[in-house]
């Protein structure tokens, strides 16, 4: 199943992604495209703001895939990303029951840790009845290298 959706303008992505194991790579590819357009310099070097964005996109989409409803009728995930000024805003909405209400439970691993470390701001919008879909979003400045990336960690 292919991803569907359209780039809705320069610097913006609005994609429906099947919640399968290829979703993280598809999401990274879509966001890489708008980062490439927004940045001078060829690739999104990891450790750079772009590298941090791609890592967080992968973490959030992976979490959505692992925790959403499975099966043939699995509804797609929705990925939106947009660059405004010097920051990128990314949001991933699952098809229902994907993200726990408590952000601390989210991914139960490195995902929230990395969001905390790299994102300028992030959050979870839990499902509000009658809707069952919830959203994880983050913002990251593309201008400054994230200070945490350079700081010594836990040594």
């Amino acid at each position: 199943m292919a991803a569907s959706g359209t780039r809705i303008g320069p610097g913006k992505v609005d994609l429906q992604l099947p919640p399968d194991s290829e979703a993280p790579a598809r999401a990274r590819a879509a966001v890489r495209d708008i980062l490439g357009a927004a940045e001078t310099g060829s690739s999104a070097a990891p450790g750079s703001p772009s590298g941090s964005v791609l890592l967080l996109v992968s973490e959030v989409v992976t979490n959505a895939v692992l925790h959403c409803d499975k099966g043939a009728s699995a509804a797609p995930l929705r990925l939106t990303a947009g660059i405004e000024g010097e920051a990128i805003h990314v949001a991933v909405t699952d098809s229902g029951h994907g993200f726990p209400d408590d952000a601390k439970q989210f991914a139960g691993g490195y995902g929230p840790f990395l969001l905390q470390k790299l994102a300028t701001r992030w959050g979870v919008e839990p499902a509000q009845a009658p809707a069952t879909s919830s959203t994880v979003w983050f913002e990251l400045s593309l201008r400054e290298p994230p200070p945490a990336a350079e700081a010594p960690t836990g040594q």
Partner: protein
């Protein structure tokens, strides 16, 4: 079926040393590929398994967890793991998570 974020692995076991060279991106879709290659190499009971990370263009925490698992297994099972010359993405993730001081990283080729 289009495929994105692919991973290819070159693998050899010689003189008691297993060597894996993953080329591409290590994430939810491709972790099983490296997992399988590691299991196959370890099936020949090498004393050491070297995973050359110099061609790994991307890794996220899904990939990181596999490396941590292999590290734990090496300690339990008495073989040596060496993670060789990590490219920028794995190097950055090891640093961010503070695992650069715990995983057996190496710059030595031989």
């Amino acid at each position: 079926m289009t495929s994105v974020g692919q991973l290819e692995i070159r693998s050899e076991v010689k003189d008691g040393k297993g060597r894996l060279l993953p080329v591409g991106e290590l994430d939810l879709a491709t972790v099983p590929i490296l997992e399988r290659a590691a299991a196959e190499a370890l099936g020949e009971h090498p004393e050491e398994l070297v995973i050359d990370l110099s061609q790994l263009a991307f890794i996220d925490s899904t990939g990181l967890r596999l490396l941590i698992t292999l590290h734990d297994e090496s300690a339990e099972q008495g073989w040596a793991l060496r993670l060789l010359r990590p490219a920028e993405s794995p190097r950055s993730l090891f640093r961010l998570t503070g695992l650069d001081g715990h995983l057996p990283l190496s710059e030595e080729v031989s």
